[in-house]
Structures are given as structure tokens and as C-alpha cells.
């Protein structure tokens, strides 16, 4: 008991009184409190007031002040439950779509282009679809097939879920995964060698892939799979039946490679034979007179000296290129200089975009003259006007967003909430970003569907414009926390949008990163909008859902007013 300032009598403190009415005191202490309140009016009044306060609190909280929102009344867990696996379906369908797109359109076009003599000269096709650099693209396509199949399997499992116990379903899935995972392990075998000087000796034959790590790495023997070289100096003297991947200061290929070469090196020298394509990032590349490449050569370099023989196209992003050997098909160069000497021979068109016109010897054998285009360096981002316009566009977008948020604040809030789910909107965004234009084009093919197709494309473009605003609003929420009013939401959107723009502006200058960041923002935002729309139009499965009447389902049954010890 505490000494109270206004009287000489010792009173109970409020905490003790609260613990007493909440039945949190032990029996002995409870009896003490009970006895005290028999004699002390003030403490008895305090106990009564606290009890009244408890009752008032309970009553205030239990009373119905607003009906169950229609959104909740219509919310049906059956529909929500479908969302659990629908994202798997979405990813699967997206993967299937990409695969179908590849097999249905890209592959035939690529074949047609190749037949028309353009094969290998297209960087995108070369990088992505011919697998010139990363062999794994082929695996990716296989992966897409696997994903599509897994999706079907998932749907099957969901369908039979009622018939098979959850444990069985899980076991089935895991067994499926294990089966998928065991397939590649039986198909491939790899070996790793490390050391100061790691090598495959001349008399050796390696049955699978081999990884060589060392200061000096060397392949003198035969490798029936791929060779991965990591070292200062790498030499391939032997026979590689697969591909060669080189990460070295110098890479020298004097032997025979039946596959492709993909290399990150300072200097690449080829004196031997490469049956397929070469793609490399170097300072200097030498294809010496004895060297021969059966496919195309794609180089990102400072200096290229081509004295040997190239079967197909040459694609160059570099500074100084000298052709003294034979190029079977065309040349496409973007760089500073191009020199074709008297012994140079080019079997196809030459497109050269550079700082100075090409120097071509009159004795050179060319299928067609060099098509020169003066290189215009894109220095837009160094210009002050660029930034002025960026600011103007940013302000315009913020204004656009503000109008939209004011017109539909509730929908904007729902969209931002949807965006904060991250996984779901991004997954849906991928589908919407790729799927909606395809669907719109298909709709446009039929005369009846043309208005629908045009409307869909228009709506898709609107979503594209709004995507960055939604992402901006999420970023704003990260910084300032979620807003409770519309203007707070607009403020966060504006702040976040400006931050996204500031980050994205320099990032956009880096081609691949800029593209990926842009795609990420669009897909995220579009997915969030789509998800919010989806939630708005969720089907009502049980129309008889009560929304207004209040029936207290779980009263608090507080301990207020509990039996006081005598």
C-alpha cells in the first residue's frame, strides 16, 4: 500500500486495485485488499470506478458502429484459396507462353533469317537464342518446359487433393522434384583440377566436363565435354569436343574445339580450329593466319586482328579492327576504326558505324562496298536539357498520379496494398505485361474483337503509365509509413516517385540493367493494379452473407466485478 499525499491513511495504489479486479493477485494479497476496502471509502470508490471503466471499455468495443464492409461480406475463402496456387499457375502459364513464343515465332524467324543470310549477325539472337555465350539458355528452355509440366502436375495434385491426404500430395510433389533433379546428375559428369599448374595431359581423355583452376591451365589431351578455364594463362592445345569457357589473362587456342568459345580475357589468340562460334570480351583478339572459326565471331574488344579464316559473320563492338584474313559472310561493326588490308576478303555486306571512314585497300576482295555511317555518340545525359525535361516529366507524372489518386482514392489504396504483397503482383505483372498485348492482338485479328483489342491495348498502356506511380507510392510508404488520408498517400506517392526516378535515371544509361529495372517496375506496378482489380471483382459464392446485423459472437467475459473476498 502506498502513502497518499492528501491523507494520513494508507491507500491502495491503482495498480493493486486493477490487479485485484482483474483477479491477478494471489489469495493472501486479495484478502488484504478486500479487508482494506471494507474500511476505506476512497479505495472502494476507486475499485468501483475501475470496474466501471472496464465495463465501459468492453461495451464500447463490442457495440456495432459500422456494418461489415461489402468487400468483406463478399470475400469468400474459396476464391481466396484459389489464390494460393493460382500464382504457380500464373508462373507456369507465363513460362509456357514464353516457350510457345519461342518455338512458334522466334525459332522460325531465326531459321528464316539464317536462310536469308543474316544468321549470327543479330546480337540478340546470337546471345539469347543461339546460345553463343551462355550454353545454359538451352537449359532455360528446358526449364520452361519443366515448369509448364510442373504446373500441370500441380493442378493435378490440387484436383486430387480431396482424394489423397495432404502428406501424400507432398510426397508426390517431392518425389517428382527428386525425379527431375536426378535426371541431370546421371546425364553429366564433371571433374575439377586445381593447382599452380592445372592441366589435362596429352595422353588423357576426359569423358565429361572439366574445370581447371590455376595460375597456368592447359589442355593438351582430349575432353569429350566442356572445358572451364580459370587462371592467368590458359592454353588449349588438345581436342575439346564441347565448348570452352575461359576466364583468364591470356587464352590461347592452338588445338581443336568442336563447340563454341566463350571468353572473358585480356588477350585471346586463336591459332587452332573452332568449329562453331566465338563470343568474347577482351582487350585484344588475334585470329592468326593458321586460325579458323567455322561459325561467327562476336567480340567486345579494343583491338581485333583477323588474319585467319572466319566461316560466317563478324560482329564487333570495339575500337580498332584490322581484317587481313577471310570473313565468309558479312561484317557489322560499331567502333572507331576499320581497316581492311590487301589480303582481306569479305563474303557479305559490311555495315560499319564508326568515327572515321574505313580504310580499305584497293586489292581487298569485298562482296560489296563498305556501308559507312558516322557514329553519333549519345551524350544526351550530359546535356542540361535532358535533366530539365526529366524534371518536367516527373512533375507531369506526379500531377497525373495526384489526379488519379483523387479520383479513385479507395482503389489507389487497394492497389498500393496489393503492391506491398510483392510476390503476387510481380507474378501477375509478368503475365499481364506479356499476356495482355498478345491477347489484344489475337482479339484484333477478328473483326468482332477489334474494339475489344484496341480497348485492351489502351488499358494496358494506361496501366503501364500508372505502374511507376504505384511503385513510387510503395517506396513512399517504406520511408514515411502508410498514410491514413488521401493527401498523405499522394505525398508519399510523389516522394517515392521522385526517388524512383532519381535512382532509375542513371541506371537507365546501363543498357541491360536499365532495361531490367524498367521491366521490374512496370511488371510490379501492373501486377498490383491487376490484383486490385481482381479483388474488386471477386465472385460472390455465398450471396446470403450477413453484413449489417450485430450478433455478438464472442463476448469478453471479463473478470470485472469478480467475487471479492469477504
Amino acid at each position: 500500500m502506498s502513502e497518499m499525499p492528501k491523507g494520513k491513511m494508507q491507500h491502495l495504489d491503482e495498480m493493486t486495485c486493477l490487479m485485484y479486479i482483474e483477479r491477478q493477485l494471489d489469495r493472501a494479497r486479495g484478502l488484504e485488499v478486500s479487508a482494506h476496502t471494507q474500511e476505506c471509502d476512497a479505495c472502494r470508490t476507486l475499485l468501483g470506478a475501475l470496474e466501471r471503466e472496464s465495463r465501459l471499455l468492453t461495451r464500447a468495443m463490442m457495440e456495432e458502429e459500422e456494418p461489415l464492409p461489402s468487400r468483406l461480406a463478399q470475400f469468400q475463402e474459396r476464391a481466396r484459396n484459389s489464390m494460393q496456387w493460382i500464382w504457380g499457375l500464373v508462373f507456369g502459364l507465363a513460362a509456357t507462353g514464353v516457350y510457345a513464343l519461342y518455338t512458334g515465332y522466334v525459332q522460325p524467324w531465326q531459321q528464316q533469317l539464317e536462310q536469308a543470310g543474316f544468321g549470327g549477325s543479330n546480337l540478340l539472337g546470337l546471345l539469347i537464342f543461339q546460345g553463343a555465350f551462355w550454353k545454359g539458355w538451352q537449359s532455360m528452355i528446358t526449364l520452361l518446359e519443366v515448369l509448364a509440366m510442373l504446373t500441370l502436375a500441380g493442378i493435378g495434385v490440387a484436383f486430387f487433393r480431396r482424394r489423397i491426404r495432404r502428406g501424400s500430395a507432398l510426397a508426390l510433389i517431392f518425389a517428382g522434384f527428386c525425379a527431375v533433379l536426378t535426371l541431370p546428375t546421371t546425364a553429366t559428369a564433371s571433374e575439377t583440377r586445381k593447382g599452380e599448374s592445372a592441366r589435362v595431359s596429352a595422353e588423357e581423355t576426359i569423358k565429361g566436363d572439366i574445370f581447371l583452376f590455376g595460375d597456368r591451365v592447359k589442355v593438351d589431351g582430349t575432353v569429350e565435354g566442356d572445358v572451364f578455364l580459370f587462371g592467368h594463362d590458359a592454353i588449349v592445345n588438345g581436342h575439346v569436343q564441347g565448348d570452352v569457357f575461359g576466364f583468364a589473362q591470356t587464352l590461347q587456342v592452338d588445338g581443336k574445339v568442336d563447340g563454341n568459345i566463350r571468353a572473358f580475357t585480356n588477350t585471346l589468340t586463336i591459332r587452332g580450329t573452332v568449329a562453331k562460334n566465338v563470343l568474347t570480351f577482351d582487350e585484344r583478339v588475334n585470329l592468326e593466319s593458321a586460325g579458323k572459326i567455322g561459325g561467327s565471331l562476336t567480340v567486345f574488344i579494343d583491338y581485333l586482328n583477323l588474319e585467319g579464316s572466319l566461316g560466317r559473320d563478324l560482329l564487333v563492338f570495339g575500337k580498332h579492327v584490322t581484317i587481313s584474313g577471310k570473313v565468309g559472310r558479312g561484317i557489322r561493326e560499331k567502333g572507331s576504326e576499320l581497316t581492311i588490308t590487301a589480303s582481306g576478303e569479305v563474303g557479305g555486306p559490311i555495315h560499319y558505324e564508326g568515327d572515321t571512314p574505313a580504310e580499305v585497300s584497293p586489292s581487298a576482295k569485298l562482296a560489296s562496298p563498305v556501308e559507312f555511317k558516322k557514329l553519333v555518340h549519345n551524350r544526351e545525359y550530359r546535356d542540361a536539357h535532358y535533366y530539365v525535361w526529366r524534371v518536367i516529366w516527373t512533375a507531369a507524372f506526379v500531377l497525373f498520379g495526384m489526379v488519379l489518386f483523387l479520383l479513385a482514392p479507395r482503389f489507389a489504396r487497394e492497389t498500393i496494398s496489393a503492391a506491398e504483397l510483392y510476390g503476387a503482383p510481380i507474378g501477375l505483372g509478368i503475365l499481364v505485361f506479356f499476356g495482355v498485348p498478345i491477347a489484344a492482338v489475337i482479339a484484333c485479328v477478328t473483326v468482332v474483337g477489334m474494339p475489344l483489342g484496341i480497348f485492351t491495348i489502351g488499358f494496358w498502356l494506361l496501366m503501364l503509365c500508372c505502374a511507376e506511380l504505384i511503385v513510387g507510392a510503395v517506396v513512399g510508404n517504406w520511408i514515411l509509413g502508410r498514410a491514413t488520408d488521401t493527401w498523405g498517400m499522394i505525398g508519399r506517392m510523389a516522394l517515392g516517385f521522385v526517388i524512383v526516378r532519381i535512382v532509375y535515371t542513371p541506371l537507365a544509361q546501363v543498357h541491360v540493367l536499365g532495361l531490367l529495372a524498367g521491366l521490374g517496375i512496370w511488371m510490379w506496378g501492373m501486377g498490383a493494379i491487376s490484383l486490385a482489380i481482381y479483388r474488386r471483382f471477386q465472385p460472390v459464392i455465398a450471396p446470403g452473407m450477413p453484413s449489417a446485423p450485430f450478433t455478438p459472437p464472442m463476448p469478453p467475459n471479463t473478470t470485472v466485478g469478480g467475487a471479492l473476498p469477504a
Partner: protein
């Protein structure tokens, strides 16, 4: 913790656990209004409460297998709801600095009993609800857990991540905050005893 005259929907729960969508719908219809009201009291905006209610029921579907049928379903449901709401608030860092004060050093001042009695007589439920909205997240959460869903001190301590001994302190502080909000001044809460 059930309403008078209502029993635990054991059979419905069993069917819902087995994947019966209709049973799930029944559970939703029975408990959604109460959970929405819980969220409405605990969270700052109506939209938050709507989102939270949907999230709780979505979460519930996955967690239903973990429910111990020998215990009260509604108590378990409120626990799930309380954890979800508190996680939501914590993620948004709504908790204010004053709420992270050292609970052991909280001064527990004695109110004037008669003045408190008068205040409680005069205030209406609506005024209390409005005052509740002005409280800090933890204070409001604690009051809602205790006086709306009748959670025990152990359950409150568990949900808020507190030691059990401090639950009473949090509740008392919450009451003081509420009185201040009702009065518009701190005079009552800080007043001395007669």
C-alpha cells in the same frame, strides 16, 4: 470465450480442416464480423481492418491444421488475429517512442477515485471509441486484447512480446492514456488521491 448460447463449432471446424469449402464458408460467416471488429478496434484505419481480416482468414486456412481441438476455437482465432495485427503495426513502425520506454520505471500515479467515477459515468461508448483511436498502438492493442477478446495476461504478453509482469503496467498506462484522451487533459490521470 463463446457467446452465451453458442457452442464451439467443432463439427464445422473438422469439416473445414478436411477441405470442405462450405464448412469454411460457415466458419467465415460466423467469425468474420467479430474478427473485423477486433481489427477495426486495433488498427488505425478501416481499410487496414478490412485487409487484416482477409489476411487473417487466409492465414487461418493454412493454420487450421495446427489448431488444437481440445481448446477454444475463438480464443485461438483471436490469438491469430492479435498476432497478425500486432505484426502489421510493428512492420509499419507505428509504435511510438513513448511506447518503448522502460516499463519498469513507469510512475503509477493515483487518480482521484470520485473524479474517475464521474468521468466513467459521463462518457458514452462512442466517446470511448473515439478516444481509443487516439491511443498509441500498443496501448490500444492491449486494451482490445483484454477487454474485447478477453485474452489472458499470458496471451497478451505472448502477442506483444512482453514479460507477463508488465502486462498490467501496459494496461494501466493504456487506461491513463484513455482517460487523458477522454478528458482532453492529463489532470485526472495525474491527480492525487483524496
Amino acid at each position: 470465450m463463446n457467446a452465451p448460447g453458442t457452442t464451439e463449432p467443432t463439427e464445422v471446424i473438422t469439416r473445414a480442416r478436411a477441405g470442405d469449402a462450405e464448412a469454411w464458408g460457415e466458419l467465415y460467416r460466423e467469425f468474420a464480423p467479430a474478427i473485423f471488429r477486433f481489427c477495426r478496434r486495433a488498427l488505425p484505419t478501416r481499410e487496414d481492418a478490412e485487409d487484416a481480416t482477409m489476411d487473417i482468414f487466409t492465414k487461418l486456412r493454412d493454420k487450421l491444421g495446427q489448431y488444437d481441438t481440445t481448446r477454444s476455437f475463438s480464443a485461438w482465432l483471436y490469438k491469430v488475429a492479435a498476432n497478425h495485427c500486432w505484426d502489421m503495426l510493428r512492420r509499419r513502425k507505428i509504435r511510438q517512442d513513448k511506447e518503448t520506454d522502460d516499463l519498469e520505471n513507469v510512475p503509477l500515479e493515483h487518480p482521484d477515485p470520485s473524479q474517475l467515477e464521474r468521468l466513467m459515468e459521463q462518457r458514452t461508448s462512442e466517446e470511448v471509441r473515439k478516444a481509443l483511436e487516439k491511443l498509441g498502438a500498443r496501448a490500444r492493442m492491449a486494451l482490445v486484447m483484454r477487454y474485447y477478446s478477453d485474452m489472458s495476461y499470458d496471451e497478451i504478453a505472448d502477442a506483444l512480446g512482453l514479460r507477463r509482469a508488465f502486462v498490467g503496467v501496459v494496461l494501466l498506462r493504456a487506461r491513463h492514456e484513455l482517460r487523458q484522451a477522454l478528458e482532453g487533459s492529463s489532470a485526472l490521470a495525474a491527480g492525487g488521491a483524496s
